[in-house]
Symmetry: C2
Subunit: 466 residues, 2 copies
């Protein structure tokens, strides 16, 4: 067996031609950007296209090898429950990380180093690049540590994600894996930046002052954000295309927010948002290629690896870009999904092993899946469920005596089906993605509007008057 | 299944007590070093002890889980060919990398950063630490990029090593995996240091000048060194304890060489050798714990992952410490083993799938394994083998007509058995390790002696006169 069984492939000649054209174009862009020391953002776009093409081919080529070593799963929402390759997020992640390695020379200054012979570095002179006429300039050299620590953390997360897909780690343990992966980022933050001061909202300033030093609590907060991202993506999962689809929508929303900052020349937060942009563009590349295979009817599964990878990437750019609160606003549907699930997670309502929507083999549509009450529910559960039923956020089935026998599983996917009726898998995925997009745009609007009321100034508008 | 089946373990209470004492002592050392901003080398020793204890426990705890997902192999040199866990090098590598993350705050300066609010870095002031009375001082902050890139490359190597153990990649491809893993290190070298100038030996200076700029050839050379290390360790393998044993000997030799430099206060190459030391001490910790399980009779196998990890680590410290030529001297037995194998690798002599020594079930000793000639060998092969027989570097078996029917497989392990007769597995491993140690010490002696003849000065002695 080999990693590249070139004999068997289902990529058509037309697709190969298109991918070849894309790759050549991107290679030309990257080489031109390197030679002319051009805008890093142009190179980043080139790498994104390249990442798309590479992921597109590799997923096709490696599918059989993945199945052979046991990375496979049954698609339960299809008539014949086909067995397809799993953990394809690992392919995305490896291509992505490789692109991020090769991108390094573009956004960073070059140094001239003088040595005393034998390769020992004695002192260095920074080559000041002319930044005249540039909006999207390069990073100062000391941001390199931050960049490398971010990739280190991401790579650790992918490594642990693959270990999870392989060993099937218990959920109590796996929730904490992102905190372990965040260690290099937090340690480098500590030696490289170390600022643990936050601004206080205007209304609280009389009590707490303008700035508050959180100390080690700030690191705990960063670890919390690191845990939030991957688990947010991981919990809204289970139907074709939903993991990749929601990640692409969130990435687009963050990119939109980044562009709002970058389009204002000289904004103090510009570097942070450039950083975010450089990390998200190649992510879009690999994710779009994965979506092509994972969209209904799926030919591959993405695996927990992808959820860890995507969610952790959002956490990383949120933390290092200092917009973790904005990030949380963009993850509101996921956070709602998590809160909505708690009655099942904490045992108030029975929690079956899988809560994904039920596939109706007769209609070929998805229906809300139901949790069965084997014993009559407790009083508190009845009160809770009856209240939820009033607000139409749960579907209940009662027997003749009015005792609750079944309730729809408490996930956003089942709720969507309760609200809008049975539908095909891709319609459901599209609906939730559209909801995510709409919520995100509203959240960004409110965030930049409200900030003026809560803080003295929003860091997007009026930053120059601060 | 879970990663930590705490129910079943074969670590005795006495061992637990010893490990607990070691861990507590190391934790105390690390905390004290952190609080007092003490010598990084002391913290490094603390982390090494901690790494030993963690690896010791994890290998025991995770053995069954590894076997369950298919990381297992049969020990062919035992009577009953027991099936034991494989790829335990991955456990070592993960513990090691985690320790290297946590070690970061010790050798690096801290910065004071001023922000304009909102967490945007505006400018920073380096906190100049007093280095009075210190021999083993800290690194300048800009070495952080180098450190992080080294860990990134190592982690990539471990990731690809696990992929190899999982997918069983073809040897033509796997030889090149280290070059891929080296990319982050080479890219960061490019943006961070970028020196591609080498000193020319005195005798060649009239033709080439004192210094020569190799340009991109220097990067090709670094990639070559990166490929050399892992493959050197990988090719001298196959009996209990040999992979870890040789790696520990090589690490000790490099550490000895490092100490020669560090013991001279103010030596210009001191930082490079401190760097090497910080990377090798925790490696010793994890490797000694692994050796305890992998030594005859082995309870676990190390897997290709360990060979990649160990060999690549040597390449990394050799490249970034600018002593890659010295490193090659220390790898001479491995390089000899590679050259000695070429007649089999290039098909002059038949090459069976496994060339490890043959286990004699009657005597319980290892004997040289033989390659069979199904057809009479070609003329050139006969000439070569007869010449090698004269120099006693091969064992031949002829039929009555004098036609060569068998020859011992061309590996250093079989050669050792040809020279010194059948012996038990651990005696063979110890013999080869002793040989490696002796060769290494001689090589270091010659290297520091000869350097004065080839260059104007050795960079160990007389550097201050240069």
């Amino acid at each position: 067996m080999t990693l590249l069984p070139a004999t068997r492939t289902d990529i058509s000649t037309k697709e190969y031609l298109a991918l070849f054209t894309l790759t050549s174009g991107c290679a030309a862009i990257i080489i031109a950007a390197f030679r002319s020391r051009g805008e890093p953002i142009v190179a980043s776009l080139g790498f994104s296209g390249f990442a798309f093409a590479a992921t597109y081919c590799l997923i096709q080529w490696l599918g059989d090898a993945f199945k052979k070593v046991g990375f496979k799963g049954k698609d339960m929402a299809k008539t014949h429950r086909p067995e397809i390759p799993e953990t394809m997020g690992a392919v995305c992640a490896v291509v992505y990380i490789m692109c991020m390695f090769l991108f390094i020379p573009f956004p960073f200054y070059e140094y001239l180093v003088q040595t005393s012979g034998g390769g020992n570095r004695d002192y260095e002179i920074e080559v000041q690049q002319s930044v005249v006429g540039r909006t999207l300039h390069r990073f100062p050299h000391n941001k390199l540590g931050e960049y490398l620590s971010a990739i280190l953390s991401l790579q650790s997360m992918v490594f642990l994600g693959v270990a999870d897909d392989l060993f099937d780690i218990r959920w109590r343990h796996k929730i904490l894996l992102p905190a372990i992966a965040a260690i290099p980022m937090l340690v480098v933050y500590y030696v490289d930046f170390g600022v643990t001061v936050i601004s206080i909202p205007t209304m609280l300033q009389p009590y707490l002052g303008r700035l508050l030093n959180l100390g080690w609590l700030y690191y705990a907060y960063m670890a919390f954000v690191a845990i939030l991202g991957p688990n947010a993506i991981n919990i809204l999962a289970g139907i074709n295309g939903i993991e990749v689809g929601q990640s692409i929508v969130i990435a687009l929303l963050i990119i939109f927010n980044d562009i709002l900052y970058i389009s204002q020349p000289g904004h103090p937060a510009m570097n942070s948002h450039l950083f975010s942009l450089y990390f998200l563009l190649p992510f879009l590349g690999v994710s779009l290629a994965l979506l092509r295979y994972n969209w209904f009817p799926a030919k591959v599964f993405v695996g927990d690896t992808y959820c860890y990878f995507a969610g952790f990437l959002f956490s990383v750019v949120g933390i290092l870009g200092h917009f973790s609160k904005t990030l949380m606003l963009l993850l509101l549907p996921q956070i709602f999904n998590g809160c909505y699930s708690t009655p099942q997670l904490f045992g108030l309502i029975p929690c079956p092993r899988h809560r994904l929507p039920r596939f109706n083999a007769r209609t070929h549509l998805l229906e809300p899946s139901m949790a069965q009450f084997l014993q009559p529910p407790k009083k508190v559960t009845v009160v809770l469920l009856t209240a939820m039923e009033k607000f139409k956020v749960v579907k209940l089935v009662r027997n003749e005596e009015g005792v609750i026998k079944e309730c729809s599983n408490l996930t956003i996917l089942n709720l969507w089906l309760v609200w809008f009726g049975s539908m095909r898998e891709d319609t459901l995925a599209l609906g939730v993605m559209g909801f995510q997009l709409a919520m995100g745009l509203v959240a960004l609007g409110i965030r930049h509007g409200l900030a003026l009321m809560v803080y003295e100034y929003d860091n997007l508008v009026k930053w120059d008057r601060a």
